[in-house]
Subunit: 348 residues, 2 copies
């Protein structure tokens, strides 16, 4: 009888545990969707499906949330990258998964290697570009207005650290955006571990990514070496803290970028190859807005050339000095008659 | 004769190399001082001296820059922390260094361990608090209006990573400030390696910190394990990129914090234990400013209790909902008649 009771208690605990897990996961995803306005009422959502735990869980969670009738899961899309031995297995898995859920699925195969070579891109960049082009195409074909992809808090933390160490300080530290055009990322506030626990509790299978052990690849080093080391130093998972920081920095940056665009539109006067900004108006800008105005002005003059933080700083130094000029990509910048003047190259 | 020429060339190269190094280091420090307005004209600067390469180089660099007459190095201050076997050696070194440069020096010894115990602080926190209190005291005694300390780009990168992994997302991600009150950090844009190369080129000795190998200490783990791993993943030093990111994030955050303070002063109406904010005015704020206004309002109601990001988010969720209330540290927050109302605990 003692056994009976403890059996009951265990089931009860388990039941509550699963219920809590599922419920809080759904709540978190719904919160992310609401907070960033990811899915407008009545939207038709296409889900990008790799067959991994993230995108399988994404499909299941969106189907559950769609039951309230606020939006529809319009279908699935799987791109066979033909990069790994498991590519065919993954494709069949996705087809069967779609069939079981009664969802339409579009599958296509691409030659990532050939594309990468033709466009001198890394395999990772080529795959990303092909994948999003494919998803946009399928969305247009099936009349979907949102494309959901499975990036999680773990991806967010990795991307943030990668950008941090590469010095993407001026514009790119924000990490992964919850939404970019039609692409939405409802899982950005949940972890891989929680998603896998949820799938396990539902008896829902997924395919494992072939582990990429190549530690020469920076992303793998961040995932397999650096993040675990950070966790060890902090005495617990650092992913939530890093992902949250990335989100706050993104939010700050997005609004400041917007202010910068507004101000440069109001202040910059273009005449032929000459771009002028009034020095007194620039002096009134707070440093974060000034930095963005200078970046945008330098970019406008630079054409396709890269403008870096060092160029923005050089022009900022010019502003705080009394005279002189400085050469930046595509133009020369000088102080003339109360104006900051950008002379596009060849126009001096 | 061939030998003679190559000897000449080597000396010439070396000479130029040293000259360039010194010159660019001085320029960088001068740039940091100018950019952040660290030293007002005619200022008297006290230098905090540990005897390590950073603070020895700081003293030398400031003396060189002071030759232009824009400010004076008023003296040195060394605090003997009595924590390591080398403490006495370091103290004598500092006294001799000051004597050689003809600068006044104030030396004091403290019992960090006892202070840490009495105030339940970590040794690191206790040492920091005692050190800054000592420096402020000496500055007042000798009539110095600025206190220069030797934090470098390396310290900046370490501190940023530590804060990142600890989740100091809401206010603390900025890392080390170039200036806080009278304390200034002119070396924040230069590296330990460059400072040591400069001292070596000048034949200027310094004392080595006893290496702290205790990898259970998070800062040591960041310094000895995580930053080298990041460098390996990036294929080069990541300190400059991380320090630069910290600086940009600080600049953005400082201005946004200021906007938040301005808005909360304009919007918050306090009546007894009640703090009210007009909902329509809140709705007009951009997300980064709204977040700061809510944080400041919650803090005002929380007294000494900690307010976290989760509380700010809970209130933000309340704003985007239609009704209800939420409990936060020290108060209950509700929507009532077009207002966000914070009721301090015990006042419901």
């Amino acid at each position: 009888m003692g056994v009976g009771i403890s059996f009951w208690v265990s089931l009860w605990d388990l039941g509550l545990g699963v219920w809590d897990l599922t419920s809080s996961l759904h709540q978190q995803v719904r919160r992310t969707i609401r907070r960033h306005g990811l899915v407008p009422p009545g939207a038709r959502v296409l889900v990008g499906l790799s067959g991994g735990s993230d995108s399988v869980a994404l499909t299941r969670l969106l189907l559950d949330l769609a039951e309230h009738g606020e939006f529809t899961v319009a279908g699935l899309a799987h791109l066979n990258h033909q990069l790994r031995a498991s590519a065919e297995r993954d494709e069949s898995f996705c087809r069967l998964f779609a069939q079981r859920l009664g969802l339409p699925i579009v599958v296509e195969a691409v030659d990532v290697r050939a594309y990468a070579q033709a466009h001198t891109l890394s395999i990772e960049d080529a795959a990303r570009r092909l994948r999003y082009a494919f998803l946009e195409r399928v969305a247009a074909d099936i009349g979907a207005d949102r494309i959901a992809v499975g990036h999680t808090q773990d991806d967010q933390a990795e991307t943030f650290l990668l950008k941090l160490m590469r010095g993407a300080g001026l514009t790119g530290l924000a990490g992964i955006y919850p939404r970019r055009g039609a692409v939405i990322r409802p899982l950005l506030d949940v972890t891989d571990v929680d998603l896998q626990a949820y799938l396990a509790s539902q008896g829902e299978p997924w395919v494992e990514d072939e582990t990429n052990d190549d530690l020469d690849n920076p992303r793998n080093r961040v995932r397999h070496v650096i993040l675990p080391e950070l966790d060890r130093a902090a005495g617990g998972s650092t992913h939530p803290a890093i992902a949250r920081a990335a989100g706050l920095i993104r939010e700050d940056g997005q609004w400041l970028d917007e202010l910068g665009r507004e101000r440069v539109r109001a202040l910059a006067v273009r005449t032929g190859n000459r771009l002028e900004l009034d020095l007194r108006s620039l002096a009134e800008l707070p440093p974060p807005v000034l930095r963005r105005v200078l970046l945008l002005a330098l970019r406008a003059a630079a054409g396709t050339r890269e403008v870096g933080l060092e160029h923005v700083e050089a022009v900022a130094a010019l502003l705080s000095g009394t005279q002189g000029g400085v050469d930046v990509p595509g133009s020369r910048v000088e102080l003339r008659g109360g104006k900051l003047v950008l002379l596009q190259q060849g126009a001096v």
